[in-house]
């Protein structure tokens, strides 16, 4: 083939240009460590990388959210632990206060002690987090949740809101608990029902906290859960009736309550069961009972209600007020104090249970956060590996390619010099 001199030079230079642009590119890749320098180098990889970048940064953000959540939960947990300790101490004081050997002044001293703990409890319930927001006020984080006093009672100004955080791409976790659920919503009494002696009682009966022997019967929707046990003493015999307040009728007769003697006879230390004894009693069974020591007086009443929410502050406040009442030498007053202490103790047990449940919830969330953390780290590693595979340079390959290209480039330069140096004119006239 005939070659024109122009072609000789053009081919030579364009070859050299192409090779030097290849070299430049390799050099750019090597200096940046990136295989993909612009989207056009690998459009699919760059789009994938953008999406993985977003997922990775979301994952990083979730890690931050988890860190915040862990610290918020940790803070709440420490407050609740203190509150639990406080309840434990109050309970010890109450055990002390129950002793029959104590004088009025001894009980007052204990009351003063418990008053201090009441204030401490208020402080915990009104505690704030690092941002100055109230910990236990639900959504109303700038409203002080609890206010009031022993005498006036304590009211809750927050709401039931529970803040959540996005801690993983498909997991939201509660990071706060409302004051309602922690301090206000403990079930009263033994957790199923509460026993309240009528303040006008004149006897010396002291109640235990009662118990449910058959849960399925007690939690039956047909259980009205609202009873009064009425005592009558006539002729030295103590009798009682159980009245269903929802209908107003006696459970024991099925009819309107009558006068003394009442259907059942009460002997000292007897257990009062909400179950038909057969005979003339119509069949009924709510699976619950309680017993009492001491002797009820004629017309004494004890009301028995299905548990509703009991505020821990009311519990403490009530027992403080009861302890401050003078009782020495008055058997009826002592019985009232005993009953108040007994009811407070079972309420405190329930409140403590409630706190423990809240702490267990926090604990399980914290555990989940830790598990999510290690999962998040694994995912992060995967993202980084994918990103690196998509974008990063294989140095070994690139360097060997560089060496290869350099030797091609040198060969092209040398051969171009040789070929372009050949000309017949060199020999003419020589």
């Amino acid at each position: 083939m005939r070659i024109s001199t122009n072609t000789l030079y053009d081919t030579g230079t364009s070859g050299l240009l192409r090779q030097s642009s290849d070299l430049f590119r390799l050099q750019q890749q090597l200096s940046s460590g990136r295989r993909v320098l612009a989207p056009s180098d690998d459009p699919v990889a760059s789009a994938r990388a953008l999406e993985i970048d977003q997922s990775k940064s979301m994952n990083d953000q979730f890690a931050l959210n988890r860190r915040d959540a862990t610290s918020a939960l940790g803070f709440a947990e420490s407050q609740l632990a203190t509150a639990g300790d406080l309840l434990g101490t109050i309970r010890e004081r109450l055990v002390q206060a129950r002793s029959a050997a104590l004088s009025d002044s001894d009980r007052k001293a204990i009351a003063i002690d418990i008053r201090a703990m009441f204030s401490e409890m208020m402080g915990i319930a009104n505690s704030r987090d690092a941002f100055g927001d109230y910990l236990f006020s639900g959504y109303k984080s700038t409203t002080q949740p609890f206010s009031g006093s022993v005498e006036a009672g304590v009211s809750y100004a927050g709401d039931d809101g529970q803040r959540e955080a996005q801690v993983a791409s498909n997991r939201r976790l509660a990071i706060s608990d409302s004051g309602n659920s922690v301090f206000m919503r403990a079930p009263a009494g033994n957790g199923n029902f509460s026993l309240t002696p009528d303040p006008a009682n004149r006897g010396t009966a002291v109640l235990d906290s009662g118990s449910v022997s058959d849960m399925s019967k007690w939690s039956d929707p047909n259980n009205p859960g609202d009873f009064d046990v009425v005592f009558a003493v006539s002729g030295g015999v103590t009798t009682y009736d159980i009245i269903d307040n929802s209908s107003g009728n006696s459970l024991l007769t099925g009819a309107a309550p009558g006068g003394a003697p009442l259907p059942r006879v009460f002997l000292k230390g007897d257990t009062i069961t909400l179950r038909s004894n057969g005979g003339s009693e119509p069949p009924f069974d709510f699976g619950a009972r309680f017993s009492m020591t001491g002797a009820p007086a004629d017309g004494d009443r004890v009301s028995m209600n299905i548990s509703s929410a009991q505020s821990v502050f009311d519990t403490i406040g009530d027992v403080i007020l009861a302890l401050e009442q003078p009782a020495s030498g008055d058997a009826n007053a002592l019985a009232k104090t005993s009953n108040a202490i007994g009811s407070a103790m079972s309420n405190i047990d329930q409140a403590n249970d409630n706190l423990l449940t809240a702490r267990a919830r926090i604990g399980s969330r914290t555990t989940e956060l830790a598990a999510l953390d290690s999962l998040g780290e694994e995912v992060n590693l995967q993202f980084e590996t994918s990103l690196s595979n998509l974008r990063d340079l294989n140095y070994t390959e690139a360097i060997s390619k560089l060496t290869q290209n350099l030797s091609y480039f040198q060969a092209a330069q040398q051969s171009f010099m040789k070929v372009s140096g050949l000309s017949l004119f060199n020999y003419i006239g020589a």
């Binding site: 001199t5 959504y139 039931d160 939201r172």
Partner: protein
Amino acid sequence: MGTQLYNIGITGLNAAQAALVTTGHNISNASTAGYTRQQVILGTNDPQMTGSGFLGQGARVETVRRIYSQFLTAQVMEARTQSAEYDAFAEQIGALDNLLADEQAGMSPAMTDFFDAIQSVTASPTSLAARQSVISSAQAMTARFNSLDLRMEQVGDQINGEISGAVGEINQLVSQIARYNDQIAVAQSTTGPNRLANDMLDARERLISELNDIVRVTQLQQSDGAINLFIGNGQPVVVGGSAFTLTASPSIEDASRTEVSYTAPGGSVLRLQEDTLSGGKLGGLLSFRRNTLDLAQNALGRVALGIAEQFNAQHQLGQDLNGALGTAFFNTLSGTALPASTNDTVAAANVNVTISDSSELTTSDYRLRFDGANYTLTRLSDNVSWSAATLGGVPPAGSPQGFTLDSGATTLAAGDSFLIQPTRNAASEIRTVLTDPRMLAVAMPISTSAALANTGNGRISAGTVTSATGLPLGGAITLTFDATTNTFNVVGGPGGTLAYDPTTDSAGKTFTFAGQGGFTFDLSGTPRNGDTFTIQPNASGQGDNRNLLALAALQSGKTLASGTTGFQGAYAQMVADIGAQAREVKVNQSAQTVLLNRVTESQQSLSGVNLDEEAANLLRYQQAYQAAGKMIELASRLFDTVLQLGG
């Protein structure tokens, strides 16, 4: 006889001299662009008839021939026009490709930062610093949208300038070519078809090749030596000695775009279809603008529009730190409808493009035409069209395009046409309008609670607000459980009852109050008779972050392109599209370069000058000249011999 020998010697001298001159011409023009090597064609003179036969009379120069192949030259021109188109396309798309190459400079980190800032408020909804960071990062994101779009806009402006420049060059070249056509016709009419004006032909061919570098032209050789040139759909730009000019002017549809039109021989102006102007730099520019730039701008606009519309919608369902309902976070964006400059000026109709659902938007532009009775909307990406008798009927409800049209108080005249660009300007117009961090709607305006006196274990969820209807809530709504009928009696709000059977529904049952913010909540557990739950305005709910979680969830939601992709995905798709096109054109460009080199080599192999060959020719013709000189010397000596005989 002596004279004859002299004469023959002289013809040899002349022939050798002509060959030497031509060789010299070739050597001198070895590197002249477009030069075709020439060769002297020698022939014998007519012989002298004698009784003993024909006696030769020496040599003569028949013609100087161009070593030329029409076929090879046409191949080179075609390869060059294609190559120039790829070069122009590659240069323009390279700018976009590089703009998106740095992930720190693209949209991606700005969008991620924005959503990260939102997430960081969840832990501390009352922190003004965290709220401010949401606004600041939103401002950074909108500014990034604006600047990316501005860069694309600048590319568009630059293309307008280059189109005007290219049209100027075309006009200059065609008039020069026409002049050469004239000169060649005159020159060759005197020499005849066998003796061509070689160097003028080369010069004209160089101009035609330059014209091909700008836009593809088709040639038609005329018998008088002229070449007629056509562009586009066959519009003649050179006919013999006359040239017709092109004009670059603002488009009828969109005044911000420069278009090419043609002034026909009769003087009428014809708008050239963009896709018929292929090849060369102009073809590359037009095709880049049509196939890449427009789509990239639309795609970027769609992401901006999606974020603005969807974020605003969710933000307006929330409640801010002051307890007021959320306001717009970004400005409200709408599409643009550009009236054609040929529209009826008396009616002066206006069309408004309102975005109705950003998730249905496409990246295409649309054309609206009114024929006096029907409105026809055509989607330009695939030419799907819809017709309706009312403007509100296009696009039809059955195939939503994410926008609705109306003409406000104006009425379209028959023949009016509009270019509808739903997303084109969104990226340049998006702004963050919320400036007060207290007004970030982090909470939801409705909360729930359970009464403390409840004795059952029924629960109500925190619930979500799903529509702006009936917000803010007029007052509290209480739900009281009636165990005998297994219903909740609703007081306030929609009233009535909600059926709830604890034995089957205790795992959770969902209810929605459509007229009360579309409030959706779950009831679960076993409530006892008389248990009450309250749904109330979320008064002083500063610590509530439910709306924020909903806003943050937009980041990973598939809320664009009919639910097939999210914001980041749509952006990544745009980057991938540009990357793929840039890659394609790079591949085409290098393939075309190889092709161009190959055909240039073939053409040069025939027509190019080889200096070694010319050096050899130089020696050859020098020797021929010397030989002819020797012949004259011999004739002289022969004559002397005759003279000596007489002496």
